[in-house]
Amino acid sequence: MASKKILIPLHENDVAPRFDLATEVLIVAGNGKTGSAEKRMVVLPRASADQLCHLIITENIQTVICSGIEDDYYQYLTWKRIEVIDSVVGSSDSALKRYFEGKLKPGDIL
């Protein structure tokens, strides 16, 4: 898998249940194989789906792994050619692991 930039909205160590209510996000750059994935936490000033979309665009994120997301934001991100894997329930680590294995799909309960 080529190197990718992934964003996961967080709720403690889990994928945040709501995209619009997440106040921190995990940004990961890497391909998962070499172990050289670079992880970075970003704390948002307030929960806002619009600001999160803006961050995703400015950070050149290629994939968003999230749980509940409103259709407007999902359509906007996919229109911007960003892959959105939604309705993922579980820890961010297990979601990332499964993503790098190429097995993560929308609706996965990990």
């Binding site: 709720h11 249940p17 409103e70 407007d72 906007y76 229109w79 939604d86 309705s87 329930v89 309960i109």
Partner: protein
């Protein structure tokens, strides 16, 4: 705040017992000592017409009912063991979890909020949380009920109207007769067959009957019998078993099962294929659903409302509709009159749509010039109320003055063709001509609303621009962001 104490369930004293493995529902939980024999707890919960979830002290899901699965969209069993926050996906759970506010002395807490389901819809809900106690009054878990309050919100937003019943507007004697009959029809559980030309408001009447009935708190499931291929329609209606066909990776409940304790609305029933007519007939007789590939049936308490614009009696005669199904559906027949026969309603509807659509489109309420009013009052409306609404919507969009004049009305109204009564009830498949030419002139067709017109304009602009959005936006006179927003709105990819 005093936190709830942890307590183990007393096997001898507690009425609710779970099997040893908390994460698995392989052995369903039972309620003992209520009847002579244990009662299946899950089945009991499934009979409740609002979402119910039982949580343990760690706020992890122990069990949730079918209604909540339908509301959230999570149908698997793997959610047991996850905190409710991850499955409900409600703002209440994240911002103001009611469970955390419950202590030993607390009673139930009721909060309004919203959730996002797996179909990415934001649904307003009301959550009521109550502690579950053992016989020693120790808290052993929590019971949450989740109500879908979309309808209440809609009712709040809609002001009452003298000539309205729910969303239906009319003061003609024919409509008053229908308004008077709906409350009594709603109280009965008999099947209803709604007939009427296209655009007369069959869907609205069906929903109104449901909302006025005792099943109003239950689901209202709508399925268009003419919109899906036969096999997909069967799976959608009756559900399927895991492995029933390629791609059936899990059990899926059908609309009939999801409409349990509610109403199933079958629109375009005249387009239901014959093999499915037989299966529907079996369900109407036995009240039991057999999902595709399953030998086990599920009983479902569902009221059926069917609607069609076709002449079912004629279809029976030509062998395209089963006579026995017609008899079962035709217990109560409600015929909606075409707009041309509803004397006095055209003016009322014009005023109603001018007010509501102007507000929706963010414009000042417009008036009609005497000439425009005369044209609109004398037109025959083969597309009925839908067509009238579309004409008003078109005129509001086109008109930049304070008054709608005849030049703001669709051109076909100015030179109407003689109205053919027999044509009104027939379906036609005429290929559609382009909506706009190179000069940008827009033509709205009868029975086509502004949204459809705009959608086609976008499609045509994109085709002309060879898929280049910048060029398409420029040809429409819009900014690229406006084009994106509209494409998003109409689902154009």
């Amino acid at each position: 705040m005093k936190k709830a104490k942890s307590a183990n369930t007393d096997e001898n004293s507690g009425a609710f017992r779970r099997p040893p493995s908390d994460q698995s529902l392989a052995i369903p939980p039972h309620i003992h000592n209520l009847f002579d024999i244990p009662v299946d707890f899950c089945e009991l919960l499934d009979q409740i017409a609002m979402g119910v979830v039982v949580l343990n002290l760690e706020r992890k899901i122990v069990v949730m009912n079918q209604t909540l699965k339908a509301l959230t969209g999570f149908s698997q069993k793997e959610f047991c063991g996850f905190t409710c926050t991850h499955i409900l996906r409600s703002n209440i759970c994240i911002q103001d979890c009611p469970v955390l506010r419950i202590d030993e002395k607390s009673g139930p807490k009721c909060i309004e909020g919203n959730l996002i389901n797996t179909e990415r819809q934001l649904i307003p809900i009301r959550i009521t949380t109550a502690p579950l106690r053992n016989i020693n009054h120790q808290i052993i878990g929590f019971l949450e009920t989740i109500e879908d309050i979309r309808l209440l919100r809609e009712l709040d937003e809609t002001a009452s109207h003298a000539y309205k019943f729910s969303k239906i507007v009319g003061r003609s004697p024919q409509m008053q007769k229908i308004f008077q009959s709906i409350p009594s029809l709603a109280q009965s559980d008999s099947s209803v067959l709604i007939t009427g030309e296209t655009g007369t408001g069959k869907d609205m009447v069906a929903e109104t009957i449901h909302q006025a009935s005792n099943r109003a708190k239950g689901p209202f499931a709508k399925i268009n019998c003419g919109a899906l291929p036969d096999t997909l329609l069967e799976s959608e209606l009756f559900g399927h078993q895991k492995g029933a066909f390629t791609g059936a990776v899990e059990n899926k409940p059908g609309r009939i099962q999801l409409a349990n304790n509610g109403t199933l609305y079958l629109t375009e029933i005249g387009d239901l294929p014959l093999p499915l007519q037989v299966k529907l007939l079996t369900f109407l007789d036995d009240k039991e659903v057999f999902p595709l590939g399953s030998i086990k049936g599920f009983s479902a308490d569902v009221r059926i409302i069917a609607a069609t614009h076709r002449n079912l009696e004629q279809m029976v005669r030509s062998g395209r509709f089963r006579k026995d199904l017609l008899f079962r559906l035709n217990v109560i027949r409600l015929h909606l009159p075409p707009l041309r026969e509803r004397h006095g309603d055209v003016q009322l509807l014009l005023d109603h749509f001018l007010n509501t659509l102007s507000a929706q489109l963010g414009k000042k309420t417009l008036t009609l010039s005497p000439k425009a009013l005369k044209i609109l009052l004398t037109y025959k409306y083969p597309g009925n109320v839908r067509e009238l609404k579309n004409i008003v919507e078109y005129a509001i969009n086109i008109c930049s003055d304070q008054q709608i004049r005849s030049k703001h009305l669709p051109s076909y109204l100015l030179n109407p063709e003689p109205f053919d009564m027999s044509e009104a009830a027939q379906q036609t498949n005429v290929p559609q001509a382009p909506l706009s030419d190179e000069t940008g002139f827009i033509r709205v067709e009868p029975d086509r609303n502004w949204s459809d017109t705009e959608k086609r304009m976008i499609m045509e602009a994109l085709i002309r621009a060879g898929g280049r959005k910048n060029k398409a936006a420029a040809s429409l006179g819009w900014a690229r962001s406006t084009l994106w927003r509209k494409m998003n709105q109409y689902g154009i990819r």
